[in-house]
């Protein structure tokens, strides 16, 4: 058994999110709304040596496949990530994340005075810009602090 497999055991059905930038694994879990209370089997690898990233994080979630909006937000904090869908211990699908043009209904606007925080019948909507996202309503720019405003 290799080092790699020692750290994170194989899963039967679920999702492996690989090539997450080092230090972002817990934010990935935050995006997915996973805090352990769901009873899902979760394993996290942090600072695993990687050819592509130097060091990477890795997240395995048993019994859960990701929605498109989750993948969209994931792409903002882990642009290099690959999403592997596992069924019966086999990788049945392997996708790179792509940055969407807009993220809808997933983040909450950090500007408390933004109209989207006022009980209006609208989803939040953020434009994806060079180094973050920007509220379509109030123009507030959100950069490194994206994970703090996930509202799934």
């Amino acid at each position: 058994m290799s080092d790699h497999e020692l750290r994170v055991s194989k899963i039967r059905d679920g999702t492996v999110i690989d090539h997450v930038e080092g230090g972002q694994a817990l934010n990935v879990l935050a995006i997915l709304g996973i805090d352990g209370s769901e009873g899902l089997g979760v394993s996290v690898g942090m600072n695993v040596p990687s050819d592509r990233l130097g060091r990477k994080d890795l997240v395995k979630v048993e019994g859960r496949e990701l929605s498109q909006s989750e993948v969209d937000v994931l792409s903002l904090i882990a642009p290099e990530a690959t999403i592997n869908i596992i069924r019966e211990f086999e990788v049945v699908e392997k996708n790179r994340v792509t940055r969407p043009d807009r993220v809808v209904g997933v983040l909450s606007c950090p500007n408390r005075n933004c109209i989207t925080n006022a009980d209006e019948p609208v989803d939040t909507r953020f434009e994806v810009v060079a180094d973050g996202v920007r509220c379509d309503y109030c123009s507030t720019v959100l950069r490194s602090d994206i994970a703090d405003h996930i509202d799934v």
Binding site: N113, T116, Y137, S139
Partner: protein, 313 residues
């Protein structure tokens, strides 16, 4: 301008701005030619925040075009206090009026309103966001005094919460103006506006005081620093005092410097400036009428054209 809303200055191209300002010039030259042009239509004035002059300015501009106005009245007495959403309010008002002027304390309110109605929406101020119709009349004033090319503009005061500043700064990027921002550290431009300026490669410099930059300016745009922006009243008096101008301050200014202010002022421009050749803030306020007439005329024309296209289709 092909769109039929005016929400932020970011949406305005140089051509859009010049088209409205050309029309404003025509209106100013011959207001009679525009009288009654939109008779039989209705404009709703929806001010969720107190305002006298912007509301009166739109009201007067509308009436000169023959447009009737209906006014939501004071916020306390309206349904806002009963917790109706803005989306519902504007959908109801859309049934009464052919266009809506909206002022609201939340940033993004006008963007939201425009998503829920088909009639033109004009943002007359959304929180600390934008105030683009003010910008059009500011630009008209600058254009009539200096033209819009090769400008050096100083913008001073509360740059963080000042929505007139945010709209003006973004709009000026269309004209490659050199922009100097003069403010206390705590009231510098917000990240959202810096972002827009940066995107356009605008020439922007920030200063703590006016002195060094004053001799270079064509325009000095002064805004009020509000007491509520400071935790401590003494701190407010100390800081605000450094961003006041009087006739003596302007001794160091070029002869043709234009001093502007969105009004109302309190004491940031001393009354002795009023008598100098520099003072243009009353002219600026008066320009609200021809510019808002030109704006309403343009938006209503666009909305009618869009409606015509829908019928054809």
């Amino acid at each position: 301008m092909r769109q039929d809303h005016l929400i932020t200055a970011t949406q305005l191209s140089r051509d859009d701005i010049e088209a409205v300002l050309d029309r404003a010039r025509e209106v100013a030259a011959d207001p009679e030619a525009y009288a009654g042009r939109h008779a039989g239509t209705m404009l709703a004035l929806c001010f969720f925040e107190p305002s006298t002059r912007t509301r009166m300015s739109f009201d007067a501009a509308a009436q000169r075009l023959g447009i009737d106005t209906i006014d939501m009245g004071d916020v306390d007495s309206s349904s806002v206090s009963k917790g109706e959403s803005l989306a519902d309010t504007v959908r109801v008002i859309e049934g009464y009026a052919d266009s809506i002027v909206l002022r609201h304390p939340s940033e993004g309110a006008a963007t939201l309103a425009a998503e829920f109605v088909d009639v033109p929406v004009i943002n007359a101020g959304d929180g600390a966001g934008q105030h683009p119709s003010q910008t059009l009349l500011d630009l008209h004033t600058i254009r009539e005094n200096h033209g819009l090319d090769d400008l050096t503009v100083g913008i001073m005061g509360d740059l963080k919460y000042g929505r007139t500043v945010h709209s003006l700064a973004t709009a000026l990027t269309n004209f490659d103006a050199r922009q100097h921002f003069i403010s206390p550290e705590s009231l510098r431009l917000p990240r959202s506006v810096r972002f827009d300026l940066h995107e356009t490669g605008a020439q922007v410099r920030e200063h703590d005081d006016l002195e060094a930059v004053l001799p270079e300016l064509d325009v000095l745009y002064v805004t009020r620093i509000q007491k509520e922006r400071f935790p401590d009243e003494n701190e407010y008096h100390r800081v605000a005092g450094e961003y006041r101008i009087d006739a003596d301050t302007l001794d160091a200014a070029p002869d043709d410097l234009t001093v502007m202010h969105p009004l109302p002022r309190v004491d940031e421009i001393a009354p002795d400036v009023d008598d100098t050749e520099h003072a243009r803030y009353f002219e600026q306020a008066h320009n609200g009428i021809p510019v808002r007439m030109a704006l309403l005329d343009t938006l209503l024309e666009n909305a009618e054209a869009a409606e015509g296209m829908e019928v054809d289709r």
